[in-house]
Symmetry: C2
Subunit: 175 residues, 2 copies
């Protein structure tokens, strides 16, 4: 069992749990910032439980010439959103905290626009040594589920959703 297979309903329930943790902490979200494109689906589901506007930001791991790079690059950042960040309590959402480099990059960008607070909410956190670090300004970090360092198969990446469901069911039986 070397991969995690999740159904959409698994994801939905994990977001519900994640939202519950955010609310139980007392954090008052002003806006959800979704890291694209992995954060779009978790962020949209999260809005059902924490009804705040979603601002989307994009990160690219390709340089201007479409060559892969190790360093994330701003792809879609919004002047209007950047102006709005000041003084706001931001909940930054992504699907997975893997090496933590994307999160660190996004948090540092957000912090440069003087929000009141940046909290992080990820669907899945991989228990592993991280290359990125959470800046000390981030005092709240929420996860839906903490998992081992294995490949995660998300339902939205499935070409055949029935196959995804079958694999998720089989993985559940083995577990």
């Amino acid at each position: 069992m070397d991969k995690y297979w999740f159904t959409y309903d698994d994801i939905h329930r994990t977001v519900r749990d994640l939202a519950g943790r955010v609310k139980a902490s007392g954090f008052e979200t002003d806006a959800i910032v979704a890291i694209g494109s992995g954060g779009y689906i978790p962020a949209r589901i999260l809005r059902t439980y924490i009804n705040k506007p979603i601002w989307a930001v994009g990160i690219s791991y390709y340089d201007e010439n479409d060559n892969p790079t190790d360093n994330p690059r701003k792809m879609q950042w919004i002047d209007e959103v950047e102006r709005k960040l000041a003084g706001k309590r931001i909940l930054l959402v992504d699907e997975v905290d893997d090496s933590r480099t994307t999160l660190e990059y996004c948090i540092r960008e957000l912090l440069s626009h003087k929000p009141a607070e940046v909290a992080v909410a990820v669907l899945h956190n991989k228990r592993k040594e991280k290359r990125g670090t959470l800046p000390p300004e981030v005092t709240r970090y929420f996860t839906g589920l903490d998992i081992e360092d294995r490949w995660v198969k998300y339902p939205w990446d499935a070409v055949d959703i029935d196959e995804q469901d079958a694999n998720a069911a089989a993985a559940r039986t083995r577990a």
Copy 2:
């Protein structure tokens, strides 16, 4: 049976069909533009079949003072994206074509930045008289499913996903 209830897997299969129609038409997508927040989930699934970057735009039906308004307003539009639109073939994605006002608004905004082509792809089109119109520049319009003018219950809006699935199953039995 006055409402449509969809499961996530229903949505996923509808996006697969929608992507198939886009590809069968010969339309060569350069970038997917997702209308937030309803378009985020369909757009992200679509990317599994049409692997192009997603640019997110936001529309608000609230004015600057948080009062409801009938006229959509730009909430999140990206200078960087706007600069990138020129000469590109854009696939504009939303979850539902209801009154068509949001679509018309977004298409007109996109057209003002001189894309090569704007095609529209919606998960669901409601068969009804539309208040908005598709500008003549839009020569391609794709739908995943054409439906009657009833309330649509999307899975991502469900507080209880098991209840959503049960309602979807019951609606299927009645149909």
